[in-house]
C-alpha cells in the first residue's frame, strides 16, 4: 500500500493535496481497500461551506456506507463528477482519478490535526 509523501492525511483516512488556498481531498489506499468495491459516491454541493471534521460526502460500498469528513474549513469549490458514472475510480486510482472534492480554504482557519504519511502509517498499525 502506498501513501505518497507529498500528501497530508487524517486519522479518518482522507488524503489532502494542498495547492495554495485549495485542498483536493480523497480517501487513502487503506480506506479504499477496507471499503472494498465502491458502488456509489454521494458528492457534496459545490459552494457548500464546511467546518473541519464535518461530514461532507458518503461513500457506499457493497460492505457499508462510510462518511467522508472535511479535513479543513472552507467552501466546496469542485467535485469529481466522474465518480457519478464510475464510482470504481475510487478503488482503481484513489490518489489521482478517484479524488472526491476540492475545498477553497477559509483564510486564516487553523490547519490542525493533519498527518504526514509517516504519522498516518503509524495510526494504521493500531488498526490492524
Amino acid at each position: 500500500m502506498e501513501f505518497p509523501h507529498d500528501l497530508k492525511y487524517t486519522s479518518t483516512h482522507e488524503w489532502i493535496r494542498m495547492d495554495g488556498n485549495r485542498a483536493r481531498v480523497g480517501v487513502t489506499s487503506f480506506a479504499a481497500q477496507e471499503l472494498s468495491d465502491v458502488v456509489y459516491v454521494d458528492l457534496p454541493e459545490v459552494g457548500k461551506e464546511v467546518q473541519a471534521g464535518q461530514e461532507v460526502s458518503v461513500v457506499e460500498s457493497v460492505k457499508a456506507a462510510s462518511s467522508i469528513y472535511a479535513p479543513l474549513a472552507g467552501r466546496v469549490a469542485d467535485v469529481n463528477t466522474a465518480l457519478k458514472s464510475n464510482p470504481a475510480l475510487l478503488n482503481e486510482s484513489c490518489y489521482q482519478e478517484g479524488w472526491i472534492f476540492e475545498l477553497e480554504l477559509t483564510p486564516g482557519a487553523p490547519a490542525q490535526g493533519l498527518l504526514t504519511s509517516k504519522e498516518y502509517l503509524k495510526t494504521l498499525e493500531g488498526e490492524k
Binding site: D37, V39, Y40, E60, V62, A64, A65
Partner: protein
C-alpha cells in the same frame, strides 16, 4: 432441499402463447357506443403478461417457496434481528372470525373487544418497560423512531430549547441516525471504549446545550449491557437532553430490567423481535412507542382510555404530535403480540429473557475456541466474533457465512457492527434447543477445519443452493431493474431448453 440446484425459470420464461388459467367473459358493455373506459385511457398495445395454466403457477411458486430459508425450516441466528420462533397459536387466535371481520370504522360500542385487547396490551407494555404510556400506532420500528424523535422535537420546542444535535453510539443501528436526520437533527457519533460500551469521556466531550437526545440500545449491538446506564442518563439529563431507548435488544431484559427504571424517557419496541410477530415481508408491522410521564401529552393521538368497563378513543391532547397511522395502527399484529404476552405471563417472559442469554453464552463459550472474539467476557442475548483463529489461507467471514448455507443454516449477521472487522453477529434466541446449538457449533468446527485444509471449498460456496454467489458489485453498480423479453423465441420449448438458452446468454 439441498438437491435443488437448478435455477427456477421466471414466469415470463415459462409462458406459452394461449395458455390460460381463467377464461374471462366478454364485457357486456364492450360494444356500447359509450365505452366504460374513455378512449384516452385505453392502451394501444397488448400487455406482455405471462400466459400459464393454474398448475404451472402453483408449481412455480411452490418450488420457489422451497428455496426459502425461514424460522420454520432452519436455524436462523441473525444477530440483532431476534429471529425467534413465532408460535402458531398467535396466528390461530388472531385469525378468528371476530377479529377478521372487525372494521376500523365500526363505532366504539361495537369494537369493545378489540379496544379491550389493545388497552390491555398497552398496560402490559407499560409494565414490561417501566414507562407511563404507550401508543400502539407506529407501523414499524423505523416509524416508531421517527415518532419518538418527533416527540423529542415537540418537547424541546415547547420548552423553548434550541437544540440541534442527536447523539448515537458508533455501534448504533443505521436507522437511528437516519431517523434523526429525517426529523431535522444533526447526528454526532459517540465512540465505544475497549469493553464495547459507550465511552463516557467521549460522551462528555459531545454533551452541551445543543444536544436534544441520545439514542441507545441496551444491551448494545455488541451484546453488552451498558453498565453505566444510570450515569449516562444523568449526564444527558443534565444538559436538558432526552434519553431514547431503541428496543431492538429488549429480549434479554424481559422481566429482569426495565428501560424506564434505567432513566430512558422514550422507548420504542419492535414487536416482530421481542414479541414474536412475523418479520418483514413488507409488513404490516408494529412499533409501539412508550414515554415517561412528562412526555405523555405529546404521544400520537388517539390513545385508548377506559371508563369503568367501557373502552374508548381518547380525544387528542392539544400538545399531541398528531396521527402517525390511520385508525389505530396494525391491529391484527398487535393482537398477536398480546396473545404471546398473555400466553407466557410475567414468569414466562422472564424465562424467555434468561434463556436467550443462556443460549448466547453457551454458543460464545464454545465458539471462542475457534473464532477471535473482539470483546471477550460474558454477553447478553447476542455476541460478535471476528475471523477464524487458525486462518492460514485468509478465509473471510463472507466465506464462512456462505458455507453455512450448504449445511442448512441461515447465516448470522455479517459485517455489522462496523466497528468490528470481519464481524459475525450471532443471536440464537431462546427458542433453540441444546441439540440445535450443538449442531451449529459442530458445523462451524467443520468449516474451521475446511478453512485450514480446503480453502477453495469455502471460497466457492454455497455449492448446493439454486444460486451460488450473486455478483453484488455489478448488481449495485449497474442494477437491471426491468424485465427484458428475450430477443429470440427458444426453438426448444421445454423448461430445459429455456435453461440452456439462459446459460448461453
Amino acid at each position: 432441499m439441498s438437491h435443488l440446484t437448478r435455477e427456477e425459470p421466471t414466469l415470463a420464461e415459462l409462458s406459452r402463447p394461449k395458455k390460460r388459467a381463467v377464461k374471462f367473459p366478454r364485457a357486456a358493455c364492450a360494444k356500447d357506443s359509450q365505452p366504460l373506459i374513455p378512449a384516452q385511457y385505453l392502451r394501444k398495445t397488448r400487455p406482455r403478461l405471462p400466459e400459464l395454466s393454474e398448475l404451472d403457477v402453483v408449481r412455480h411458486f411452490t418450488r420457489l417457496s422451497k428455496l426459502n430459508f425461514s424460522i420454520d425450516t432452519h436455524f436462523y441466528p441473525l444477530g440483532s434481528c431476534t429471529m425467534k420462533y413465532n408460535p402458531k397459536r398467535n396466528d390461530t387466535l388472531s385469525t378468528l372470525q371476530p377479529f377478521l371481520w372487525a372494521h376500523p370504522a365500526q363505532p366504539e360500542e361495537l369494537s369493545q373487544g378489540i379496544l379491550e385487547i389493545l388497552y390491555e396490551l398497552e398496560q402490559a407494555l407499560v409494565e414490561i418497560c417501566g414507562v407511563r404510556r404507550f401508543s400502539l400506532q407506529p407501523a414499524a420500528g423505523a416509524q416508531a423512531e421517527f415518532t419518538g424523535l418527533m416527540i423529542v422535537r415537540a418537547w424541546h420546542r415547547d420548552h423553548g430549547n434550541d437544540k440541534k444535535i442527536v447523539l448515537v453510539p458508533d455501534t448504533s443501528h443505521g436507522t437511528n441516525p437516519a431517523s434523526a436526520a429525517l426529523v431535522g437533527y444533526q447526528v454526532q457519533t459517540v465512540k465505544s471504549d475497549e469493553r464495547g460500551l459507550v465511552d463516557l469521556g467521549d460522551l462528555e466531550s459531545h454533551l452541551g446545550p445543543r444536544v436534544a437526545c441520545l439514542m441507545l440500545t441496551n444491551p448494545n449491538t455488541l451484546g453488552r449491557f451498558e453498565v453505566h446506564i444510570q450515569k449516562i442518563a444523568k449526564m444527558i439529563h443534565m444538559v436538558g437532553g432526552l434519553l431514547y431507548y431503541d428496543g431492538a435488544n429488549l429480549n434479554p431484559l424481559l422481566g429482569t430490567a426495565r428501560p424506564g427504571d434505567m432513566g430512558f424517557d422514550i422507548v420504542h419496541l419492535n414487536l416482530h423481535k421481542t414479541f414474536s410477530t412475523p418479520h418483514g415481508g413488507g409488513g404490516p408491522g408494529a412499533g409501539p412507542i412508550g414515554v415517561a410521564d412528562r412526555l405523555v401529552p405529546y404521544l400520537p393521538a388517539p390513545l385508548i382510555g377506559r371508563d369503568g368497563g367501557c373502552y374508548f378513543l381518547e380525544p387528542a391532547h392539544p400538545k399531541s404530535i398528531g396521527r402517525v397511522h390511520a385508525f389505530y395502527g396494525n391491529a391484527n399484529i398487535l393482537i398477536k403480540a398480546f396473545i404471546y404476552i398473555k400466553t407466557l405471563g410475567a414468569e414466562g417472559l422472564k424465562r424467555v429473557g434468561e434463556a436467550s442469554v443462556l443460549n448466547a453464552n453457551y454458543l460464545l463459550t464454545r465458539l471462542e475456541k475457534i473464532f477471535h472474539v473482539p470483546y471477550p467476557g460474558r454477553c447478553m442475548h447476542e455476541f460478535v466474533v471476528s475471523t477464524l483463529k487458525e486462518n492460514p489461507h485468509g478465509i473471510r467471514t463472507l466465506d464462512v457465512a456462505k458455507r453455512l448455507l450448504d449445511f442448512g443454516f441461515h447465516s448470522p449477521t455479517i459485517y455489522f457492527p462496523i466497528n468490528v472487522k470481519e464481524a459475525m453477529m450471532i443471536e440464537p434466541t431462546e427458542t433453540e434447543s441444546r441439540e440445535t446449538l450443538d449442531h451449529f457449533v459442530e458445523t462451524l468446527e467443520t468449516i474451521a477445519d475446511e478453512a485450514r485444509h480446503h480453502p477453495e471449498r469455502l471460497r466457492q460456496s454455497p455449492h448446493t443452493l439454486a444460486v451460488s454467489r450473486p455478483d453484488e458489485v455489478a448488481a449495485a453498480r449497474t442494477p437491471k431493474l426491468v424485465w427484458d423479453e428475450p430477443p429470440l423465441a427458444s426453438p426448444d420449448k421445454s423448461p430445459e431448453g429455456i435453461l440452456a438458452l439462459k446459460s448461453q446468454r
